[in-house]
Symmetry: C2
Subunit: 106 residues, 2 copies
């Protein structure tokens, strides 16, 4: 569930959102978008959690692959629905991962 | 609940974790650590969610402030307890935020 990403540097898109009280169709679209993201070139992984706010961090090889994903046609539709129907507010940050540490119990 | 951070560049620490089935004392320590983080110099904000995996993204002015927080004495103890008692696995990424977009409904 925690993705294995390659050695840095690579990019992280940190998407934080608060849903409107009613958000019909959101869950289905979120699942579809995660599925679609995994099919994009240079996609490295995704982590998502929601409790009050939602945080979804997707990892990408470079800025170009993030730009391509942003402009993918089905994703553009989801973004539009997000703004008009589902999200009360959101924040999207594009960041360059410089260091990565992991810990795992035996 | 979504922090207002300044204009990039600044840094994000992306901490993703999976808890052991039993993790006594974890919630109290997590609350205390968030409270303590907000008191550190050059701390800019934090976002946390947990559903299956936990994701906590904290924002900092620079690498030095992240290093200082890592070595804060009470935080060092929490890190040790995390490794020995609470976390099944975790992943910690240090990234430089280059772009930031926000959306808010009226």
């Amino acid at each position: 569930m925690i993705p294995n990403t390659p050695e840095p540097p690579y990019y992280a898109v940190i998407f934080t959102s608060i849903l409107k009280k009613d958000h019909p169709g959101y869950e289905e679209m979120a699942i579809r978008m995660e599925e679609l993201a995994t099919q994009q070139p240079c996609y490295l992984g995704i982590e998502s959690a929601r409790s009050g706010i939602g945080i979804s961090v997707s990892y990408w090889k470079d800025l170009e692959s993030i730009s391509n994903w942003k402009n993918q046609s089905e994703h553009l539709l989801a973004q539009e629905l997000g703004k008009t129907k589902w999200y009360k507010s959101y924040s999207l940050r594009i960041s360059k991962v410089e260091r990565h540490y992991t810990f795992e119990t035996n």
